[in-house]
């Protein structure tokens, strides 16, 4: 497969003798890299640059023209609707991030530290992953009959006499969006953390216990720091997905909660390309800040 690039038997003149080991020496690995790098430059970097470029184009009612202007930018920051969407996106992102961490960590702790049988660990993790084999959108929609006024939760609450009236704020509010997102993305937090926790050498914890450390000290001084890379990787996953979200919001908020993603969608729908591009750039910047910040805490390459 990949080493079709390694031509057989090519005589190596002394000029190409590098100090690499084995056969993968000299410049040959560039041949292996070329297709992937080309693909990413053309289909990833170019569209993103295009987006930045178009954000400075002139927007007329149904078309854009390549006359550079900052009108769309001004419009974005002077509009309460759009700026509000940015704030809302950040708020929901932080809420979901915090909740996935708080809800996911104990589960990861149980799977990674308290379950010592590898098979049981695998079974538990697979159990968490199975829902992913259902279409993401259907999983989102399944929250509607859960949360609605006559939904499963209200039925159960009333049946057990906990509430007398159905709770109406459960669906088509920001709350329902947050609930839906947390449920969908929490597994991305559990997985990496559980993985890091399972890697902790048991003797380390035993040694600490022999030295008389309390459970809380062990958690604070050993388990928590060693699970940090998992937390960061999980946070990256969750952030990437939540910041770019729009489907959960439109399915569970009845179009009342508009995130940046939703606005891009409606702008594109009404052919406001330049405007959509502005929001895209804003989102990209937010994203870049978040990810670089998180990557400062942990070196992704080293954790592999």
């Amino acid at each position: 497969m990949s080493n079709t690039a390694i031509t057989e038997q090519a005589p190596i003149n002394s000029a190409t003798r590098g100090n690499q080991h084995g056969l993968l020496r000299g410049k040959r690995h560039y041949l292996l890299l070329a297709p992937g790098v080309f693909w990413m430059l053309v289909f990833l970097v170019l569209p993103l640059l295009m987006m930045v470029y178009v954000s400075f184009w002139t927007q007329s009612t149904f078309a854009v023209s390549p006359d550079l202007t900052i009108k769309s930018w001004v419009a974005f920051f002077s509009s309460d609707t759009y700026f509000g969407a940015l704030i809302r996106t950040l708020r929901i992102w932080l809420t979901v991030l915090a909740l996935t961490l708080v809800i996911g960590y104990p589960t990861a702790l149980f799977i990674g530290q308290f379950v010592r049988n590898k098979n049981t660990q695998t079974v538990l993790l697979v159990t968490c992953v199975v829902p992913f084999w259902t279409s993401f959108l259907i999983r989102v929609l399944a929250w509607r009959p859960m949360l609605g006024k006559e939904g499963a939760i209200n039925i159960l609450l009333q049946k057990f006499g906990i509430t007398s009236q159905p709770i109406e704020v459960l669906l088509f509010t920001e709350l329902s969006v947050v609930i839906g997102m947390v449920q969908i993305y929490v597994v991305f937090m559990v997985g990496p953390i559980a993985f890091m926790l399972a890697r902790i050498d048991e003797s380390l914890i035993e040694a600490a216990r022999d030295l008389g450390a309390s459970a809380w000290t062990i958690f604070r001084k050993i388990i928590l720091p060693l699970s940090m890379p998992g937390v960061v990787v999980g946070a990256i996953f969750v952030s990437v997905m939540v910041l770019g979200e729009f489907a959960t919001a439109s399915a569970l908020s009845g179009r009342k909660v508009n995130l940046l993603g939703n606005i891009i969608l409606t702008q594109v729908g009404s052919l406001k390309w330049a405007f959509a591009a502005v929001i895209g750039v804003v989102l990209t910047v937010v994203m870049a800040i978040v990810i670089t910040g998180l990557l400062r805490v942990v070196n992704l390459r080293r954790e592999l």
Binding site: I12, G18, G22, L23
Partner: protein, 367 residues
């Protein structure tokens, strides 16, 4: 016949192999002795084509193979950690080269089978062909690795510390086995090792490598009797080497006078073989003509048929004394017990400031 012509190799500016030239004869067992980090593994890898030298080349039967990729060189290479194919059975591991090599692969399965089974028989693994790699012991893996290389009948087989990962018992057995297998096939072995006993016991000739340089080439006996330099004497792990200087024909090791053979005026290192030392009775006096030094007992251990005693002199240098059990019974000392160690002056080797052997010290053997 293989010739190495001034091979040089460095990593990140640090040279690991320095200007090594060497001729390997047909049908010989050549051992390369060097401590870890001496560059012996790198040297073998350069010969095999797995590393590229900065300069120098390799001739095989008069042909320059320095630019060839490993798979066309026709050399065998047995790796230290065996590197067996974990997804194949033992039989398939051994047959792998025959079936898949680029030059002249064997198409006839019966022939593959015959030769593989013959080879498994030769290395004593007749019944294990069907096992997977994970199901056999370290010693067996070692034999499979050897069989896999030898079945292709390479002209020369390079072995990188082939016994390094085996326990002492197995090691001893395999040294005999390796020689037997080599002689049965008539293939040339180039065997790198960090163990001086192994290098001396197995090689027809041996090369002493230190810090990337070839220090001495010769038969094990020659090298053992007359190490060309103090580094060689040290790497043989058979000599007590003391540093000092010479005044009027007497060697002074930290002020302690030691007699030298006549005619030596500039010795800076003084070496006596472990086996040449004797331990005198408590309170005993050495012959006036003999060399002697007082030292405190530290430990002793059995090494096969020999007993080795460790002493420490007043300067802190360790002196080893070796006694064959066929000649005397093991002795008992208490820790720190002081004894006189003595040796005949004819057994002394002297080296000059550059570390080279001073001609004229012959230990009574014609040089």
């Amino acid at each position: 016949m293989m010739e190495l012509v001034s091979l040089t190799k460095s990593y990140d500016g640090v040279s690991v192999v320095k200007d090594v030239s060497l001729t390997v004869e047909n049908d010989e067992y050549l051992t390369i002795l060097g401590p870890s980090g001496s560059g012996k593994s790198t040297l073998l890898r350069v010969i095999a084509g797995l590393e590229w030298p900065e300069s120098g080349t390799v001739f095989l039967d008069g042909l320059d193979i320095g630019d060839q990729l490993p798979h066309v060189r026709g050399l065998g290479f047995v790796q230290q950690k065996y590197a067996l194919f974990p997804h194949l059975t033992i039989f398939e591991n051994v047959a792998f080269g025959l079936r898949n090599r680029q030059t002249d692969p064997l198409r006839d399965e019966n022939e593959v089978r015959r030769r593989t089974l013959d080879m498994l028989h030769l290395v004593g693994l007749d019944d294990l062909g069907g096992r997977m790699v994970g199901q056999i012991s370290g010693g067996q893996k070692q034999r499979v690795s050897l069989a896999r290389t030898l079945v292709a009948e390479p002209k020369i087989c390079l072995l990188d510390e082939p016994l390094g990962a085996l326990d002492a018992n197995l090691r001893e057995r395999m040294t005999v086995e390796l020689r037997r297998i080599r002689e049965a096939l008539g293939v040339t072995f180039v065997h790198a090792t960090g163990n001086e006993a192994e290098a001396m016991a197995m090689g027809d000739r041996m090369v002493v490598l230190d810090n990337g340089r070839s220090l001495q080439i010769g038969s094990p006996d020659q090298i053992y009797d007359l190490p060309a330099s103090v580094q060689v004497a040290r790497s043989l792990n058979a000599y007590n080497v003391m540093a000092g200087d010479t005044r009027e024909g007497v060697f002074y090791h930290i002020g302690h006078p030691l007699p030298l053979p006549p005619g030596i005026l500039d010795a800076r290192y003084y070496a006596v073989r472990f086996g040449s030392l004797s331990i005198l009775e408590a309170g005993g006096k050495a012959d006036a003509s003999d060399g002697s030094i007082e030292a405190a007992f530290i430990a002793s251990e059995f090494v096969g048929s020999r007993m080795v005693y460790f002493f420490r002199d007043d300067h802190g240098d360790i002196l080893e004394v070796e006694q064959h059990l066929s000649r005397s019974d093991p002795l008992d000392f208490s820790l720190g017990e002081r004894r006189m160690l003595a040796w005949p002056v004819a057994e002394v080797l002297a080296f000059d400031a550059a570390g080279d052997l001073i001609a004229g010290t012959s230990r009574g053997i014609a040089a």
